[in-house]
Structure formats: structure tokens, C-alpha cells
């Protein structure tokens, strides 16, 4: 289970001067689609048994955000605590996750969200599959495991594709796959007693300088695009007049 804790998008505000998002101080949560991947993993565990462990690249705050995963039903949490690499590119991040997966032990299925909502890059699943030389099954909206195989329905543009692959495999899910459970108080209490293991890069056999040298993509700026809309308010005595005014305006625009 790959999980990323990201700033709560509903709480991000913009700097009024630079229009850059203000991330500092915003509470971090597990990315929405990742959470649904976790829900899918827990449902599989409930059906066929096994163990669900989660893996994240994060910092000191990640432990708190990941309590939710334990409350939902994950058995253990592993965090590679490297704040400097949290902002690294997908090439570097996937190398860290590859090493962490190998260090965490045996697995049958690696699950992740199709994208995290902060970077929207959709890269980690396919990259990890390539690095681990595994089949990748992306955009999954229905998932089942039986007889050493994963069977899934993929949500593509033109078709729903039903596919099968032998385990182990990397699966990335889309939002439609399920509604994640909301843990009750008992589960939340119990989560605090479940194991959270924190590793440094050295623990998983990597060297920070070497990993950083493989981070190639730099973000030079982030800002909200200026709204360049006309923002004309249609005002009228009654709806009939308003509708007529709107139609006239749209005809003038040449879009009707």
C-alpha cells in the first residue's frame, strides 16, 4: 500500500500578491484517491486474508496523518522519513519507494491511488512497476484477487477493459472504486497501539546525495492562474428579462 500525505486541498489559500498556494500550516491528510486504494486493500484482506501494510515517503508530520490508515484497518505503517526528498521528483521518489518495498519484505500486491491530488502526476505506480519488473494494472475501478491472479476492470476513455495478471503486480485505482470507510472511535483508539516504523534512507540502503542527484524535474513556480473572465452580472426585473438579456449577450459573443 503506497500512501502519500498531502495538504488538505480544501484548506489551501492563495497568497494575495503572488497567487501562490500557502501550504505551510495546512493540515495534512492521506490523499483522497490513495485512501480509496487503502480501502480496496482492506476489503481484499477481509475477503482473502493476509496483511495490509502501508509505505510512505514523508517527514515528522506523516506519522500523525497516517494514523487514519491504521484506524481504517491497516496492520502496520512504514515511513521513510526524509523531509528533503518529499519534494523530490518522481524519478527519485520511485527509487526510494523501490528500496523501501524491497526492505519491507514479501508482498503479493502493491496498491496505490492513480494520482495524488497535489502533484497530479500519475507516475508512481507505473514507475515502481518498471523498477520492480512487475506488471502494472492502472485506472482500476473494480478489483478482485483469486488463484494467484488479480482480476480488474480498468476505466479507460473509450472502453472498460477487463484484465488479468499474475501476482505480484502493481495496481493503481481510480476514485470510483469505492467509498472509504470512516473509522469509529474504537478503531481510532486501537490505531494508536499499532506499529509505525520510521526509516531513514540509510536503513533501506540508500545514500541521500545519490538519490538527490537523480531528481531531475524542478518546479520553478506554482501559482493560481488569474481569472480573466468578464464577470458580467445579468441584472433584470424578472427572469424573463434576465433570460432575454443573457441570450442577447451570448449572440453578441458569437457563441450561439
Amino acid at each position: 500500500m503506497l500512501l502519500k500525505d498531502i495538504p488538505d486541498l480544501t484548506e489551501i489559500k492563495l497568497d494575495s500578491q503572488t497567487r501562490a498556494p500557502i501550504i505551510e500550516g495546512v493540515k495534512r491528510r492521506i490523499s483522497e484517491v490513495d485512501k480509496r486504494a487503502l480501502e480496496a486493500a482492506i476489503r481484499l484482506k477481509e475477503k482473502v486474508g493476509g496483511e495490509v501494510v502501508t509505505l510512505s515517503l514523508g517527514d515528522d508530520k506523516t506519522k500523525t496523518a497516517l494514523l487514519e490508515a491504521l484506524a481504517m484497518g491497516a496492520d502496520a505503517v512504514y515511513i521513510v522519513n526524509e523531509p528533503e526528498l518529499k519534494g523530490g521528483d518522481t524519478n527519485a521518489t520511485s527509487k526510494v519507494l523501490e528500496a523501501a518495498v524491497k526492505h519491507a519484505g514479501d508482498y503479493d500486491l502493491i496498491l496505490a491511488g492513480e494520482m495524488t491530488l497535489d502533484s497530479l502526476s500519475s507516475q508512481i505506480g507505473p514507475r515502481l512497476a518498471q523498477l520492480l519488473d512487475l506488471p502494472q494494472v492502472t485506472y482500476v475501478k473494480e478489483l478482485d484477487v483469486a488463484d494467484g491472479k488479480v482480476r480488474a476492470v480498468r476505466d479507460l476513455e473509450d472502453v472498460d477493459e477487463v484484465v488479468e495478471a499474475a501476482l505480484p503486480a502493481v495496481v493503481s485505482v481510480v476514485r470510483e472504486i469505492n467509498e472509504p470507510r470512516i473509522p469509529n472511535l474504537m478503531s481510532i483508539m486501537r490505531a494508536k497501539k499499532k506499529p509505525q516504523t520510521v526509516w531513514g534512507l540509510g536503513d533501506i540502503g540508500l545514500d541521500a546525495a545519490e538519490v538527490k542527484s537523480q531528481s531531475y524535474v524542478q518546479i520553478t513556480s506554482v501559482s493560481a492562474p488569474k481569472v480573466e473572465r468578464k464577470q458580467i452580472k445579468i441584472e433584470a426585473e424578472n427572469v424573463e428579462e434576465a433570460a432575454t438579456k443573457l441570450v442577447e449577450a451570448l449572440m453578441q459573443e458569437g457563441v450561439l
Binding site: 502533484s119 507516475q123 518498471q130 492502472t138 477487463v162 476514485r175 468578464k230
Partner: protein
């Protein structure tokens, strides 16, 4: 700074070729294309200097296609690889990048040259912000969705055809069945007028108010995520996790205007918002806003549209 272009979607490949040609001409460099389908010479007419073909690829499957793109990269030695960001392309690009151990910028919305460097723009933070990104790896893989760029007027040009020998791996993911999706949902992204429904609609039957407008305008009908994912009234929604649309006219009816929805309609030419809540976010990002109850405004609008000169 040379280019390699690939998309399994032919039209998208031509659009990427158009942009790659423009950038290559500015830098005095070359454009190569990898072609999985038929008529490779058409790619030369669309702007490629060199076209690589690989036989035996068949329908899209990410592992053999990844092997083919990697071989084409080795042969063409490009500094930039353009991949079409269909869903299939978006899972191909990072796999290719990890196979080469290089940087990748997926699902970009634009690209330009700045001091000889390639700079791309991508949506981030749920679609509320635009990030500008560069990469120092050679090559760098970047992907662009349909209709970011325009294809060239086809012209008689000289170009070379090269057949690549690729040891294609057996796909490990087997396609058992392919179910066609209903056609209507596929048309949203190319629609020139879209009228869309949000939570302002209280019941599924009430969508007929919108259908009437759509019929008069010859428009497609879209909706927000809750209408589709939570209520199941429609198949596909408009937004960052659904369809990204760029019609000439987008009429949002009873739509509140969440960040995720707005990111999906940003490229519309004219946005109209109809919502009874004056403070609804959708009014702040529209060209024409009408504060009113959709149950009153839509019938009046239908009448006004019928009566227009």
C-alpha cells in the same frame, strides 16, 4: 535539442508533431516519430524528419509499447520525448522514464522555450494552481493531452523511414474483455456547447429542464461529480478527475463551482453561471452570471432561445 513523438492516438500524435516541429525549427533540430499503426509516411507530411516503425505491436499494452518507445529513444537519441497523454499514454510515459532512469512531466497543459530550455506548465493542487517545471535529464519524457496543440497543414516533405527491430516482451496483463462505453459521454470533450447540472437540481426528472435547453442549442449535457459519482444520474462528470472540456460556451446550472470542477472547464471560451446563491464560487469565475433559481431561469431561457432572432 531534438524530439521523439509517440501517441497510439493518431490525431494526437499529429498535434504533438505540430508543436515539436515548431520548437525544433526554432532550435534548428530534428523531429522523429514512432508509429505503431499504418501509413507512416503521413507522419512525415505532418512534420517528422524521421519515422520509426515497429512491427508486431498490436493493440495497446503498456509493456511491449514501453519496449518500443525505449528502442526508438536509443535509435533517435532525442533530448525530449513527447507522449500523447491519453490514459494509456499517461501510464506509458512514467514507465518509459523509469526504464531510462530519467525525468518525466506527465499531463502537461503547455510548453515553451525559455533561454533555450524547455519549460512546461502543469495543473497541481487538485487543479487550482499551475506549476511551471523544467528538467535536467536527457532525455526528459513529457506528455500532453489531446487538443493542447494544433496539427500542421500536411505538406510534401522529405523524411526517412526506419524499421526498428524490437524484442517485444509478452504482455503480462491479459485483456479478457473490452466493453464499449456509451457514446454520449465520449463526446463531451469535443462538444462546442455544454450545459451542465450541479446539485441545484433536486431530482433526476428535473434534468429535463436542462435537456430542453440542450436540444434547442444542439448542446451536450455534462454534470458535476456529485451528480454522477454520488447520485448516479449521469455517467461522466466534468472536472479534474473527470472530463476536461473546452467548449465555446459552457452553461453551469445549479453548479457551486468547486476547485475540481472549475479546473475542468477552465479552457471554455465563455462560461455562464446560473445559481440562486449569489456567493457561489462559480459566479466569480464566469463571464456572465445570473443569480436566480434554475427552476425559474431555465424555462425562461428555453423560451428566450426559441424566440431569438
Amino acid at each position: 535539442m531534438s524530439f521523439l513523438v509517440f501517441s497510439e492516438d493518431r490525431e494526437l500524435a499529429f498535434q504533438l508533431l505540430g508543436k515539436a516541429r515548431e520548437l525544433a525549427d526554432k532550435m534548428g533540430s530534428e523531429v522523429a516519430a514512432l508509429v505503431a499503426g499504418s501509413d507512416p509516411m503521413e507522419y512525415v507530411r505532418q512534420g517528422a524528419d524521421k519515422v520509426y516503425t515497429v512491427s508486431g505491436l498490436g493493440g495497446f499494452n503498456v509493456e511491449p509499447y514501453c519496449a518500443a518507445v525505449v528502442e526508438a529513444v536509443k535509435a533517435a537519441n532525442p533530448s525530449t520525448v513527447f507522449i500523447g497523454a491519453t490514459k494509456r499514454g499517461k501510464e506509458l510515459a512514467p514507465r518509459v522514464a523509469s526504464s531510462l532512469g530519467v525525468g518525466c512531466m506527465n499531463d502537461c497543459s503547455g510548453v515553451e522555450l525559455e533561454d533555450g530550455m524547455i519549460v512546461v506548465e502543469r495543473l497541481t493542487y487538485g487543479g487550482s494552481t499551475v506549476a511551471r517545471e523544467t528538467s535536467t535529464s536527457t532525455p526528459t519524457v513529457m506528455s500532453f493531452p489531446p487538443r493542447c496543440f494544433e496539427k500542421l497543414e500536411p505538406a510534401e516533405r522529405s523524411g526517412k523511414l526506419v524499421e526498428l527491430e524490437v524484442d517485444l516482451p509478452e504482455p503480462r496483463v491479459k485483456v479478457v474483455e473490452s466493453r464499449e462505453k456509451p457514446k454520449s459521454t465520449a463526446d463531451l470533450e469535443s462538444a462546442s456547447i455544454i450545459v451542465s447540472a450541479g446539485r441545484g437540481f433536486k431530482a433526476k426528472e428535473d434534468l429535463r429542464l436542462l435537456e430542453e435547453i440542450a436540444e434547442i442549442l444542439g448542446a451536450q449535457i455534462g454534470c458535476t461529480r456529485p451528480i454522477s459519482a454520488d447520485l448516479g444520474w449521469m455517467d461522466q462528470w466534468v472536472g479534474i478527475s473527470g472530463k476536461k472540456v473546452k467548449p465555446s460556451l459552457y452553461v453551469a446550472c445549479g453548479v457551486s463551482g468547486t476547485i475540481q470542477h472549475v479546473a475542468g472547464i477552465r479552457d471554455s471560451q465563455i462560461i455562464v453561471s446560473i445559481n440562486s446563491d449569489e456567493g457561489a464560487g462559480i459566479h466569480a469565475i464566469s463571464d456572465y452570471s445570473l443569480v436566480g433559481d434554475i427552476y425559474e431561469v431555465l424555462p425562461a431561457l428555453a423560451k428566450a432561445l426559441r424566440e431569438r432572432a
